[in-house]
């Protein structure tokens, strides 16, 4: 009897914890939707999606999300372009080439990179990487997408390498042995057998890293500037959706005004993007998951 009661309490607690995260998520979605409805009552969704200027706080108001969107995508692309090859090479080295004790020592060190506060990365980009880029690329502005993207890439390398390495390491030993048995070299084994076998895990790590880069705030707020510019030139300053939300919520824009509601419209755009990405990653995981038994 007593045991049963304890069981029940524990079960209840577990159910509550599970439900709690769902309720919070639903709450956030509800707030985003209900607040952005106020925004879209005054601004047509066509303008929102097609106008190439975003100046809701100024005299000539334009509500085009495109500059913020291209800013976000530009920094994300640069970040993934940097992090994916580097992270994957590190993962393959650690899983297939490195001696065992080296791997067990290097992995925690790599993960330290992930523990550095992002604002530190932001200032690293602004004060170290940007002057370095300016020294050999003409036309790089103080605030630019390139520097922010590169540093964001460094920041997410541990995420990719750690997750991909887990996926590579989980490939059964029999596959490696079979490959070596066929006379394949280590390189051939790694790239033609192990990487394809672990592809679902690697893809998922990439999608998660993209999600992280899209949502990243401090690095871009500090290093990429705060000027919404509709451009794909990485040397120029841009503003991402997250940086805009920070800018408005820290300023003294009146709550409930149209200017204030722009952050919910921007937020829901961001939310839809990450939502889609998460679903792609879920689908990829199922689609490409290979079972070895």
């Amino acid at each position: 009897m007593k045991r049963k009661t304890t069981e029940r309490i524990i079960e209840g607690g577990l159910a509550f914890s599970g439900a709690f995260t769902i309720v919070v998520t639903l709450g956030i979605i509800w707030v985003l939707f209900s607040e952005s409805v106020n925004f879209f009552k005054e601004v047509s969704i066509v303008d929102f999606l097609t106008d190439t200027e975003w100046t809701p706080l100024f005299t000539q108001k334009h509500y085009g999300i495109l500059p913020l969107l291209t800013g976000t995508l530009l920094t994300t692309l640069i970040a993934i372009g940097t992090a994916m090859p580097v992270g994957l090479i590190i993962a393959i080295y650690l899983s297939e080439y490195a001696p065992k004790n080296f791997r067990s020592r290097v992995k925690p060190v790599m993960e330290v990179l992930a523990a550095i506060p992002t604002v530190v990365y932001g200032f690293f980009a602004l004060t170290v990487v940007t002057p370095f880029l300016q020294s050999f690329i003409p036309g790089v502005e103080t605030f630019n997408a390139l520097s922010a993207g590169l540093v964001m890439g460094i920041m997410i390398v541990p995420m990719i390498s750690s997750l991909s390495e887990d996926a590579l390491f989980a490939v059964p030993k029999s596959l490696r042995e079979a490959s070596y048995g066929m006379g394949a070299t280590r390189f051939q084994t790694s790239f033609k057998v192990i990487v394809p076998a672990a592809s679902s895990g690697i893809l998922v790590s990439m999608i998660l890293a993209i999600g992280r880069a899209i949502g990243e705030t401090m690095v871009v707020a500090v290093a990429a500037g705060q000027q919404p510019l509709f451009t794909f030139d990485p040397r120029q300053g841009i503003e991402t959706i997250t940086a805009y939300i920070v800018q408005v919520s820290l300023g003294d824009v009146q709550h409930g005004s149209l200017e204030y509601n722009t952050i919910f419209a921007a937020g829901i755009t961001l939310f839809i993007f990450t939502f889609i990405l998460n679903h792609i990653s879920y689908w990829l995981k199922k689609r490409f998951h290979e079972k070895y038994e």
Binding site: T55, E141, T142, F143, Q247, G251, D252
Partner: protein, 315 residues
């Protein structure tokens, strides 16, 4: 800086010791109690806050709270009698005077410092020697958005390269003031520039970008002189650079202005408020430059003190 902090701690410690050791001997005649509520301009805020900090050391029994809701927001509360002192980066307006009259609030205006706005470019910029007020207007007015983007559009002899603008964000009093002085309407400007409430971001932006052009409070230029090039402004009477002298004597127009505090009669008759305002005017000449503003001449502070005390004793 460090030694001042240390000194402040030592004084604090001594005060604490004194209050512990001899509670009975504590001179009640000198230590005041009460709350002083101050609100208003973000531009004047650093001055008032610096003075309040010093005042808290000498009068720990008085709670001084300094808020920031803009000059206009402050005057709204001031007219309803909700605050004791309003920080103002401009003189009181007609409708605000009316609101005070309706609620039978009498007040005194005290000038506390001068503020200058600096127009800046990158040190590698060799072509800009000065701007006229019209040129600044052409660059910053709302109609310029997306259209005026190159140096050559301002003056034909300047390079055919795009400029990059840096300025305070819309929440800033400096922004209100600049747009009012240059564009003619407070809060009206183009939106395609790097806007930041943090002046250090603007310093960094201009310092690292050859085609940069920006403006912010003169105080921040003083701190970063070697990274920036100060540009003089011509209002029709010749090119003037903002210096302590030109800001003080008003020749650096229209980008310099006096800043004020306003005190209500009811508040001024309270001992702690009267002590605070007197403390303000006596210490302003040393504390105002610390926070980057330009102090009035000593005689002016004496004049304001006399004016205040006459206001307190008048019926």
């Amino acid at each position: 800086m460090n030694s001042t902090v240390k000194l402040a701690f030592i004084i604090l410690g001594l005060l604490l010791l004194a209050s512990c050791g001899s509670k009975t001997a504590n001179n009640e005649s000198k230590s005041l109690t009460g709350d002083i509520i101050i609100d208003g301009s973000s531009t004047v805020y650093p001055i008032t806050e610096a003075i309040a900090e010093e005042f808290r050391v000498s009068q720990p029994g008085v709670k001084v709270s300094v808020g920031v809701s803009g000059t206009g927001g402050g005057f709204k509360k001031f007219g309803r009698g909700e605050i004791d002192i309003n920080n103002a980066s401009r003189p009181i307006k007609e409708n605000e005077i009316k609101a005070c009259e309706e609620n039978a609030i009498t007040y005194v205006q005290l000038m506390v410092a001068y503020d200058g706005l600096a127009v800046l470019v990158n040190p590698q910029n060799t072509w800009v020697d000065h701007f006229t007020v019209e040129e600044l207007k052409k660059i910053w007015e709302p109609d310029a958005q997306g259209k005026i983007t190159k140096w050559s559009q301002i003056r034909a002899s300047w390079p055919d390269e795009p400029f990059h603008l840096y300025g305070p964000g819309v929440a800033s009093g400096t922004y209100d003031y600049f747009t009012e002085a240059i564009v003619g309407k407070s809060g009206a400007s183009r939106g395609d520039y790097t806007a930041s409430e943090d002046d250090n971001v603007l310093v960094q932006g201009i310092a690292g970008d050859k085609n940069a052009l920006g403006f912010f409070g003169h105080a921040y230029y003083e701190e970063n002189q070697e990274k920036l090039k100060l540009v003089g402004v011509d209002n029709g009477n010749g090119v003037v650079l903002p210096t302590i002298e030109t800001v003080k004597n008003g020749t650096y127009a229209p980008l310099s202005r006096p800043v004020f505090i306003y005190v209500t009669k009811i508040a001024a008759q309270r001992a702690e408020v009267s002590a605070f305002v007197n403390f303000y005017l006596t210490n302003a000449s040393t504390l105002v430059p610390d926070v980057g503003y330009i102090p009035l001449p000593d005689e002016a502070y004496q004049k304001e003190t006399t004016k205040f005390n006459a206001f307190v004793s008048s019926k």
